[in-house]
Symmetry: C2
Subunit: 588 residues, 2 copies
C-alpha cells in the first residue's frame, strides 16, 4: 500500500505534480471532459478536479486546454529493429509519447541468451520507459537449420517466466502449436499455470480449426493480421487483434477499415509496431504516427487512444497498473493536440516530465554494458575470399543454379533458375542476370558454418554488403559480386564488434558499428539515422531499388519466410525445412 | 495443455457435444451471426462453422435458429440471501442461465468462519455451477459492536487468498480504506501481491478524494451505485461499475440510463444481484430477469449480454476462462430467445446440459453436511420472557424512550421519541404507538449477550417474530409485543437448529428451518418459496405493511446502516458507532 498516494488522493498531502486545465481523454468511460491529473511520486493519485491536490511545493503544469491522454503502450515491439541500444531507444520512443512496451528482446536473446536479455532489461531500468518482458517461446526459430548464440529451452523459459516483469510468452508460432511441439507445450503449461501470463501468438494464415486450436491452447493475442478475414478470425475467437503498423509491415489501415466498417467491438483491438527501423522512428515517430494514420482513416479519437492504451494493458491483464488516467496507475501522461492535427506535445513517464512541447528534457547516460552483450563476434576460422566459393561438380564449365529472388516490396523469395559460368571449378555470379553471391557466416563461435547460395532482386554491383543482423540467428549475412569484397566486408564487420558494412571496389564505403550483441548502437537516434541513411544511399548508388536493403537482407536469413533462405547451415528450402544444393545440374 | 480439446479444434477427434444452427452472440467482436459451438469435455473447442467437429458419437443439439450466448456470470452475489443451501441454489440459478458466480459466502463465514465457507465450497463442487471465491475482507463487520461465530483476521484472509478458486477480497468498505484500517491494509497488500486477485469495493457515497483514495488503494470494482453521479464517479476513475438489480436494491434502471444516455463505454459495466431472495428467485429469476429489464430500458442485445458475461469475467481477469463463446473457455452456453421476448431456453454448464427448453435435467443430491456448518445455535443461557425486560430507573412510572422507526421501503431507521409506561419496573411496549420490543440474542456460544431496544415501523400486533438471520452477525433477532411470545419464538428458532419463526398469541403460526449455519435450507427452491410466502402472509395478517418483513428485520441488526441498529451488544447509534441507552429520561 502506497500511503503517500492515498494521502494525496485524500487531500491530506499535496501532490508532487499537478497537470491542470486539460481535456481528459478518459479511456474507461469513453469521454472527453475538462480536468487535470494529480501525481504522487510515480503514481496517479487523482483525476478530474484536482485543484485540491495543489500545495506549496507542487509542480503545476498548465495544459492550456490541450488533451491529456494516458502514455502510449506498444504491445508488441522488438526494439532491436531500431538498432538503438535500449537507452537511446527509450529516449526516442518516450519523445513520441510511448511510456511502456511489451517486448521479448528476442534478437538479444538469439545472440546472448537470457543472460543478455537480463542485462538489457537492467540497462532499461535506468530509463523512464516501462518495459514488460514477454519471454521468447523459442530461440532459435529453426533449431535444426541455423546456429544461434543463445538458446531457450523449457527450463530457461520457466526461469524467465518467474521474473516479476515477465508477462507471458512471445511469438508462439501457429504451426508449432497445431503440431504440438513438446517443448512449446511444456512452456505453455508453465506460463498458463502462472496467473497473469499471456501467450502471444504469431499466427499468420491460421484459419478455422487451426486458429481454434491455437486459441484453445491458450493464445490470447496475435499481431499477424493482413486482411479482413484475419480480423474476424481473431475477434470472433476471442483473440486480441494487434493491428501492426511498423516499418516492415503496415497492416493497420486495412484492418481498421474492417473493424470500423463492421462496427466491431474495439475493446480487444490495439495498435502495435512489431518492427520499427531507425529512419522511420526518426522521421515518422512511433505510435503517435500510427495514431495519425488511424485518425485519418476514420477512427474516433477516444477509440484510437484506447487502442494504444487501455486495450493493450487489458490484453496483458495490466489494466490496474497502466493504460489509463486513474488513481493507482503509473503516472504516464501525454499532453496532445486534438484529432485533426494530432501530435504529442509533452510526455510524463512514471511522474517525470520527459518532454516539454517537443523538447527532450532527459538524457540517459550510456551505461557500462555487461560483458555478455559485448564482443559477440566469434569466428572459428579466418574469413578469406575462398570462404565463399561454391564449387562446381568436377569438370563442369556451366551449371544451372537455383537463385532466390526477393520481391521488391517484401522480403519473400521466389525461385529463378539461371545458367552460371564456372571458373577454376568455382561457380560465378552474374550481375548481368542480377545474380549475386550470398552467404551466412556463423559468428557465435560454435561451428564455423558458412551457408552459401545465389541471390537476385537486390541488383547490387561492384561490391558487397555484410551485416551481423540476420533474423533469426544473427550470424553474419553477406552478399556481393566479389569474393574479395565479401571477405573484406565480413572482416570489417567483425572488427567493428558487429555492424553493417558496405564495401565498394575493395574499400569500405559506409559502415555502422553495433557493438552490443552485434545488433545495437549506443548512438542517439539522430546520429544513427544519419549513418543508416548513408548506408542506404551507398547501396542505392550501387544499384539496388530496395528502399531499406539491409532490412531485406536480414530477413533473407529467416528460415520461416517462403520460399528460400540462407542460414549458416546452408541454402534452405523453407516449405520442406531442409538444406538443398543451389546447383541444380551441370549444363556443360 | 488439454490435448483432447486441441484435437477437437483441429478436427482430428470428434466433439462430445455440438450445438448447431444457432445465432452466436459474440461478446468479443460484438456481432450476432449464424453458427454453432463444439465442446470437448467441459471446454469449448471451436465456435462458428463447427460441422467438421461432428462425429458418430457426438451429441448434436439443434438450436433451431435461436441465440447462443455465453453462460451468465453474477460478479457479486451472496447466495445465502436466497436461504437455499448451495446445491438447491445452484439448481435454481443454473435454471435461469447463470453458470458462474463470484461470492464471498460472507454470511456462512460470519457463523462458521473460513472452515464453514470451505465446507460450502466443497459442497458446490458437486454441482455444475462455477463458483469463484472472493475472500471476505472483514468479519464481523463491526468487531466492537457485535459478536460473530467466525472471525477473519489478516492471517486467515491470507490463507483463504491462496486457494486456487480465490479471486480477490470482497466488500472492501470505503471509509475503512480511507481510514487506512491496519488489518485491511495488510490484507490489501497480500491480495495485490498475488497476480489476478481483485479488490471488490463497497463504496456507497464515496466521492472525489475519498473515491480516488479507494481506487488508488487498489479497489477495482464496486456495486454500491445509486445515481447518475455514482456512475461517472466510478467509470471515470477506472473502477468497474457493477449495476445492482437484486431484491434488496434495484439500482440498474437508473444507472443504465446514465450509461446509455451519455454513450459511456460499457466494457467496465456489469449487472449483479448482490442479494436475491427466495421468492424473487422463484418468481422473477436471476440475471435473465435483470436482462429483460435492461433490454426493456434500451440496452442493445449484445451490450446487455456483455454485461453479464465478458465484462464480468474481465473485472476478475478471468476472461480467458469464462464469459465468452471461444475456444478454451468453459463450455457455459445458453440457448435463448431474442431481445424482444428474452428468455433462457436451455443451459449448458461445463459442457453438461442443465435444462432443455426450461425443463431441469439435473438434480444435485443433498450431501452429508460438514459438522462445522450444522448445529450452530449455541445459547449460553436459557431464554425466558424476563430475558427481554428493559428495566426502568428505580421508581419510574413512565419514561421517554428512543424508538427506531424503519422506513417502509428500505430498512434505514430514524429516531422517534415516545413516552412508554413502566410496569413492575419494566418498560413496556405500546402497539397503539407502534412501539415493539426488539432484541438480539447472541447464539455463537461466546458471551450470552442480549441487546435490547424499541422498534417502530413494523406494526406487528399479537405475537413475535424471531430469526437466526441477522446481518452481519447472525445472532437471533426477535421482535414482538409480548415477552412470552418472544421467548417462545427464540426457543423454537433454536430447536429448529436455526430458522425463522412467527409466534401468534402463544403459538407457533409459521416457521422455516435453516439447519445450515442457521441460514440455509436444503429444501428445493419451490418448497422453500412456499414456506417463505406463508411467513410473509402471517406477518401481513399481524399487521405489517412491509412486503418482506424478515428481510427488513435482518438489516436492523446491521451496525452500518443509519441511523440505529440492534445487535447482541446493545442498541447502536450508527453514526457514532456506540452503544446507547434507549431510555432517554424519566417522565414521571
Amino acid at each position: 500500500m502506497n500511503k503517500e498516494v492515498l494521502a494525496v488522493a485524500k487531500g491530506t498531502k499535496p501532490a508532487d505534480l499537478v497537470i491542470k486545465n486539460g481535456k481528459i481523454v478518459n479511456v474507461y468511460s469513453g469521454e472527453i471532459y475538462e480536468g487535470g491529473v494529480a501525481v504522487c511520486g510515480d503514481t496517479i493519485a487523482a483525476v478530474g478536479d484536482v485543484e485540491y491536490c495543489i500545495g506549496e511545493n507542487t509542480t503545476v503544469v498548465d495544459a492550456q486546454g490541450k488533451y491529456l491522454t494516458p502514455g502510449f503502450l506498444d504491445g508488441h515491439i522488438h526494439p532491436e529493429s531500431s538498432s538503438l541500444a535500449i537507452r537511446p531507444f527509450a529516449e526516442a520512443v518516450l519523445s513520441h509519447g510511448t511510456t511502456g512496451i511489451m517486448t521479448d528482446l528476442h534478437e538479444v536473446g538469439v545472440v546472448s541468451g537470457l543472460e543478455g536479455i537480463e542485462a538489457v532489461l537492467k540497462e532499461a531500468e535506468g530509463t523512464d520507459l516501462k518495459i514488460y518482458f514477454i519471454v521468447p517461446s523459442h530461440v532459435p526459430f529453426s533449431p535444426n537449420l541455423e546456429t544461434s548464440g543463445g538458446r531457450f529451452d523449457p527450463a530457461i523459459i520457466r526461469k524467465a517466466l518467474k521474473r516479476p516483469d515477465a508477462v507471458g510468452l512471445s511469438e508462439c508460432v501457429g504451426p508449432y502449436i497445431t503440431a504440438e511441439f513438446p517443448d512449446l507445450m511444456e512452456s505453455f503449461d508453465d506460463a498458463l499455470s502462472m496467473p497473469g501470463k499471456t501467450l502471444q501468438g504469431h499466427l499468420p494464415d491460421m484459419y478455422g480449426g487451426a486458429m481454434s486450436a491455437c486459441v484453445a491452447a491458450g493464445v490470447s493475442t496475435d499481431h499477424e493480421s493482413f486482411c479482413e478475414k484475419d480480423v474476424f478470425e481473431r475477434l470472433r475467437n476471442g483473440c486480441h487483434l494487434m493491428m501492426r503498423e511498423g516499418s516492415a509491415a503496415r497492416n493497420m489501415t486495412t484492418l481498421l477499415k474492417t473493424v470500423l466498417d463492421n462496427h466491431l467491438d474495439t475493446s480487444m483491438v490495439s495498435i502495435v509496431t512489431d518492427d520499427l527501423h531507425t529512419v522511420d522512428l526518426a522521421e515518422r515517430g512511433h505510435l503517435d504516427d500510427a495514431l495519425r494514420t488511424a485518425l485519418a482513416n476514420g477512427a474516433d479519437f477516444v477509440t484510437a487512444i484506447q487502442m494504444v492504451t487501455v486495450n493493450c494493458a487489458r490484453a496483458f491483464q495490466l489494466e490496474r497498473e497502466i493504460g489509463g488516467l486513474a488513481p493507482g496507475r503509473r503516472a504516464d501522461i501525454n499532453i496532445t493536440t486534438g484529432p485533426e492535427d494530432f501530435k504529442v506535445l509533452s510526455t510524463f513517464a512514471g511522474g517525470r516530465q520527459i518532454t516539454d512541447n517537443g523538447k527532450l528534457l532527459v538524457h540517459y547516460e550510456t551505461p557500462v554494458h555487461e560483458p555478455c552483450i559485448l564482443n559477440t563476434m566469434h569466428l572459428l576460422n579466418p574469413i578469406t575470399p575462398e570462404s565463399f566459393h561454391i564449387k562446381a561438380p568436377a569438370g563442369a564449365k556451366k551449371v544451372k543454379a537455383l537463385v532466390m529472388d526477393t520481391l521488391p516490396y517484401i522480403p519473400f523469395t521466389n525461385r529463378r533458375d539461371v545458367e552460371l559460368p564456372v571458373v577454376d571449378g568455382v561457380v560465378r555470379c552474374d550481375t548481368d542476370q542480377d545474380v549475386l553471391y550470398i552467404a551466412q557466416v556463423e559468428r557465435h563461435g560454435k561451428n564455423g558454418n558458412i551457408g552459401k547460395g545465389f541471390m537476385g532482386g537486390f541488383h547490387i554491383k561492384g561490391g558487397a554488403m555484410a551485416s551481423s543482423v540476420g533474423h533469426d540467428n544473427h550470424n553474419i549475412i553477406v552478399m556481393g559480386d566479389s569474393f574479395e569484397d565479401m571477405a573484406l566486408a565480413v572482416n570489417r564487420c567483425v572488427e567493428l564488434g558487429g555492424g553493417q558494412v558496405i564495401v565498394r571496389e575493395g574499400k569500405v564505403a559506409a559502415e555502422v558499428a553495433y557493438p552490443i550483441c552485434g545488433l545495437l548502437s549506443d548512438l542517439p537516434l539522430s546520429e544513427l539515422a544519419e549513418k543508416k541513411r548513408e548506408l542506404n544511399r551507398v547501396a542505392h548508388e550501387m544499384g539496388t531499388p530496395i528502399a531499406i536493403p539491409f532490412m531485406f537482407l536480414s530477413f533473407i536469413c529467416l528460415a520461416a519466410i517462403p520460399a528460400y533462405a540462407i542460414t549458416d547451415c546452408g541454402f534452405i528450402d523453407v516449405p520442406t525445412q531442409s538444406v538443398i544444393d543451389p546447383i541444380l545440374e551441370v549444363v556443360e
